[in-house]
């Protein structure tokens, strides 16, 4: 019973990390159809933001909460810059976008090496996140994992509310559904694209902050995450937030089950094979929606 509980919590917390790294991508790739290979480097930028903020603010708890909005802004600004400099010129050419953003991803990794050095760096976690939260019946949950879960749920809640309830959310959805009609409804679609990219990239920064609690910070960390992020968005159904949420947790649980039965690496292989098989059966993913240049 205890084992089942801890393993399913592990699964849920892996899911929460997957969800955080995929959430931003579900906007830029899912809604806008941009294959941004540099999305992982925005996550990295968010993680390094924690490192930099901690140089200035010594309290680990305070610096974490300062780093969250700062990372959102830093990664968001990088996203806007990328959109403005390169991506907006390539909207009708998904393969070119892929190559160009992959190049940008390499440049950003090298930039991180030049600034912070090649080895991984460490950040301090606040003391209240290093222990475990005791539950009745001799159970305990790692506090950092619980924090990431809460952060992921808060992020998805905020994003869903923005998309559903605000004028900006309406505009983002409208531009995806019918770009020409949005233009003639008076919506400045280029500005909406840029804002969408800002939010999507900013969410990658938030994911980066969360990841400093569970893993090392290094120049190549984004590369390891980008595949997982695309996996979640594609399997969830491109353009559907709900699909990304369900898929993230489903993959997290699968990963935890396979990890328990085999090893971490074998579990990764099995999950990937599972997704490939699933997409053979349902190529459109869990949910479907027409987007701009893909699917």
């Amino acid at each position: 019973m205890t084992l089942l509980f801890t393993q399913s919590f592990t699964g849920v917390s892996i899911g929460a990390v997957l969800l955080l790294i995929a959430l931003g991508l579900s906007l830029t790739f899912g809604q806008m159809g941009v294959i941004n290979m540099a999305h992982g480097e925005f996550i990295m930028a968010g993680a390094y933001t924690v490192y930099v903020v901690q140089k200035g603010i010594s309290g680990a708890g305070t610096s974490l909460f300062v780093a969250l909005p700062v990372a959102f802004l830093v990664a968001g600004a990088m996203g806007v810059l990328l959109e403005w400099l390169l991506i907006r010129r390539l909207y009708a050419r998904p393969l070119d976008t892929l190559l160009v953003t992959w190049g940008v991803s390499l440049v950003l990794q090298q930039l991180a090496r030049d600034i912070f050095g090649a080895p991984n760096v460490q950040t301090a976690a606040p003391s209240w996140l290093t222990g475990a939260v005791p539950l009745p019946g001799d159970l305990a949950l790692p506090a950092s994992r619980l924090f990431i879960l809460i952060l992921a749920l808060a992020a998805i809640g905020a994003l869903a509310a923005t998309m559903r309830l605000t004028p900006l959310g309406r505009r983002i959805r409208a531009v995806v559904q019918n770009r020409d009609l949005a233009k003639v409804s008076g919506i400045p679609t280029a500005t909406v694209d840029r804002l969408t990219f800002f939010i999507g990239s900013g969410l990658a920064g938030v994911a980066g902050v969360a990841l400093t609690l569970v893993g090392p910070i290094g120049p190549a960390m984004g590369t390891n995450l980008i595949i997982d992020a695309f996996l979640v968005v594609v399997a969830g159904g491109i353009g559907r937030l709900r699909g990304a949420v369900i898929t993230a947790f489903a993959l997290g649980l699968l990963q935890a089950v396979f990890e328990y039965a085999t090893t971490v690496s074998t579990a990764k292989v099995l999950v990937l094979a599972g997704v490939v098989l699933y997409l053979q059966w349902r190529p459109q993913g869990l949910f479907t929606l027409r987007t701009r240049s893909l699917a």
Binding site: P167, A174, Q177, N178, L181, V184, S185, G186, T189, L289
Partner: protein
């Protein structure tokens, strides 16, 4: 109000419109008639700013707007209802309307006015626009265009593919709107009777050229039917 001069436009360098000139009078209705493929919709897309012409000018209230982006033309007082009852299918009918009302002074009042004009839309506000019938979607589309309080309305085949009872309703509303004053209409229409009833000025477009034009009174119908050979 709207003056188009010597317009050449098309897709991928193959022109659809050749040297088209027309005028929409202030507070008046001009209609464009023609067979499928004559270039009627292309003409409206150029007027709305969705397609850049390769030659010629578009003037609105004397201002040259040939290079003005589509969304800025809406702010100038132009609204466009494209062909095919277009809407944002995954947004509710209300959200479709709010999109235009958002951030606009008196947006809410304009939204209510549009709903008063098309009471049928009021019944469907909470439903996803993609689930509405063709007639409901077209009324929603015209209502959405009116929320920006346009001085010029570009209407592309507003009655095409819609059941006859709703066609009559839509025609009545358009005639009412035009009669109110303060609004000019450029109407593309297959339905000759309605087009000429509504219009002060008509243009017949054939293979991308204006082949016949005149004022839209009773005498015009024979001439138009002859020009279109129907």
């Amino acid at each position: 109000m709207l003056t188009i001069d010597n317009l050449v436009a098309g897709y991928d360098r193959s022109p659809v419109l050749h040297d088209v000139s027309l005028t929409v009078p202030a507070d008046g209705v001009a209609t464009v008639l023609g067979h499928n493929g004559a270039g009627k919709s292309t003409l409206l897309r150029v007027a709305a700013g969705l397609l850049k012409p390769s030659r010629g000018t578009v003037r609105f209230d004397g201002e040259d707007i040939t290079r003005l982006p589509a969304h800025k033309r809406v702010a100038r007082g132009m609204a466009y209802v494209p062909q095919g009852q277009q809407c944002f299918p995954h947004l509710t009918a209300l959200e479709n309307l709010q999109l235009v009302a958002d951030g606009r002074r008196e947006g809410r009042a304009a939204l209510d006015e549009a709903l008063d004009l098309f009471p049928a839309v009021r019944e469907t506000l909470e439903r996803r626009a993609g689930l509405l019938s063709g007639g409901q979607r077209q009324q929603l589309a015209i209502a959405r265009a009116l929320i920006s309080r346009p001085r010029l309305l570009l209407l592309d085949e507003p009655t095409e593919g819609i059941q006859p009872s709703v066609v009559a309703e839509i025609e009545t509303r358009i005639l009412e709107l035009a009669a109110r004053g303060g609004l000019s209409v450029l109407l593309v229409e297959q339905h000759i009777g309605f087009a000429l009833r509504a219009a002060e000025q008509y243009y017949v477009l054939e293979a991308g050229r204006v082949t016949s034009a005149g004022s839209g009174d009773g005498a015009a119908e024979g001439a138009v039917r002859e020009a279109l050979s129907v």
